[in-house]
Amino acid sequence: MVTGLDARIVLGHGNGFTLDVTMAIPPGRTVALLGPNGAGKSTTVAVLAGLLPLDEGRVTLGDRVLDDPSTGVFVPPESRRMGVVFQNYLLFPHMTVAQNVAFGADQGEHAGDWVERLGLAKVAHRKPRELSGGQAQRVALARALATRPDVLLLDEPLAALDVTTRTRLRRTLSEHLDAFDGPRLLITHDPSEAFLLADEIFVIEHGSITQHGTAEDIRLRPRTPYVADLAGSNLFNGIAEKGTVGIGPHTIHIADTTIAGPVLATIHPRAVSLHLRQPEGSPRNAWETTIDLVESLGDRARLNVGEPLPLTVEVTSDAVRSLGLAPGSNVWVSIKATEIGIEEG
């Protein structure tokens, strides 16, 4: 039976802060825990997996209590049925790929099937040190899935990979996340990973959740400077062709003329310029639009502009004053083609 994971985690952390996190992950949903290094992300994984006992709070899976200090219930890690992909994978160095995957394999489950399913048959007899980063990641995923876990916990599953591999493996990971019907928790410090893979995002800073919501909520209504910074980027799925990317009915120009097919376009809020009149010179991407929202973040301000391509824009507060920018006013937007990040999507 598939059930949801509920956790209220309170844990005194050695270096002066307390981890205090509350989250609920329904079955079949991916929640991302997004935050900077040292915010308490890996500690959260350790608590959920049963490697660290709670100080206070409660972890439950459906109606099964896994950890509750008030009643003294503590289910040890080997009985929790949590599939964990650890940071740096922690593959057993003295075992082959096949032995790693078979280590915790559920009875009746053929570890060999998981080796096949993740495309590892050719490297099944290699030791972990002979694997590429991408292969190691898939071994870690296969090893966790072969136990038929009730919950999937992934701690920075893509962080150890180079950029090209990361894009490819993000897609593999996405497929396997979708195929897993229990609750899924993705730990990451990379906003694009969270936006692309998760249904809901919890932002953690200094041990506490500072904001949670859908990718859309986080992006459009950041509540802390950290969230504003990391979540600020505008992300669009589009189709690339001959130096342009079609995003719905709108077309933008990009620097790369060779890329074709589905892509992910990122536009940093500070890469967008605002003008009162049509800009002169060479910006290939310029159009007129309306300001929906102006939000002050100290000496900077964050604006949302509307159709034809809704964007989050960041400018100085001085610019807001001198240009008289306010909700409802018309502006011209310009973006240099070289400022648009393109990744195969």
Binding site: A46, A49, G50, L51, P76, P77, E78, S79, R80, R81, M82, G83, V84, F86, L90, F92, P93, H94, F103, G104, K127, R129, R143, A144, T147
Partner: protein, 262 residues
């Protein structure tokens, strides 16, 4: 050629002197070897008995060390308990203690009038000193610390997150120990066992004090060499050559087989 590529001459001279400390005695031994009489010397009872006893006692000490020394190393590395430093100090003591003192202490404890020896004798009639068991015990006392410190160090350096990962995969603590912890420190266990065995083979002081020097019962190779030096140079040389050959063979073979890391 750059000047850096030429190593300092003084360093080379010192290094050669260092190597000579090992090479000269070996050459001296070979130079005095009566090669023509060697086959008959080697097949003498004294040599055969001592070789047998040395192999039995050194291998016995190695096996005992593996069975109780590895758990002891684990306890010292992983379990917090009061007096842990004291226990660790006690385990390491034989490394610095003169073996004769160790042998004497064993005698006071396990002799027929000893703290443990007396009740043991009364209960079972067993007398440990001056028997093969005495040899094995003396040799173990002196050699096991090598295994314990090697393995304890390895266990401390092992990333405990691997054991956590194994637990999340459903492994009980016993399975984790058997399938993850021990295999991951196996290279250290192996080299610790080789050191233990080598030390056991060469043991002299504790053995002669606790077990005596009875040919065929407690006279190991080092003891036999010591006795033969007084009476029969040829036998002493033959015994010494046997020890050199056995040690070299084992160290070379095991270095290939056991000291392999993943």
């Amino acid at each position: 050629m750059s000047r850096r590529s030429r190593p300092p001459r003084l360093l080379i001279v010192l290094a050669v002197l260092g190597a000579a400390i090992f090479a000269v005695p070996l050459l001296g031994l070979l130079a005095r070897t009566p090669w023509r009489d060697l086959p008959s010397l080697l097949s003498s009872d004294i040599v055969i008995d001592a070789l047998k006893l040395s192999l039995i006692s050194s291998l016995g000490a190695t096996v005992i060390s593996a069975v109780v020394g590895v758990p002891l190393a684990w306890l010292l590395a992983r379990v917090e308990f009061p007096g842990r430093r004291l226990v660790r100090g006690m385990v390491l003591l034989p490394l610095v203690l003169p073996p004769v003192v160790g042998g004497a202490a064993l005698l006071f404890a396990l002799g027929r009038r000893g703290l443990v020896g007396e009740p043991l004798y009364k209960a079972t009639g067993l007398v440990v000193p001056f028997s093969v068991w005495g040899v094995i015990l003396a040799v173990t006392f002196v050699s096991m610390p090598f295994l314990v410190i090697t393995v304890e160090g390895a266990l401390r350096n092992l990333d405990a997150r691997f054991e956590g990962a194994a637990a999340t995969l459903g492994a009980t603590r016993w399975t984790v120990l058997r399938k993850v912890t021990l295999p991951m420190v196996m290279p250290s266990i192996s080299s610790g066992l080789v050191l233990t065995w080598a030390r056991a083979l060469g043991e002299f002081g504790a053995t002669i004090t606790f077990a005596g020097n009875l040919q065929g019962r407690t006279q190991t190779l080092p003891l036999a060499v010591f006795v033969a030096l007084e009476s029969n140079r040829g036998t002493a040389i033959a015994l010494s050559l046997v020890m050199v050959a056995v040690s070299l063979t084992v160290l070379v073979v095991l270095r290939e087989r056991w000291w392999k890391t993943w």
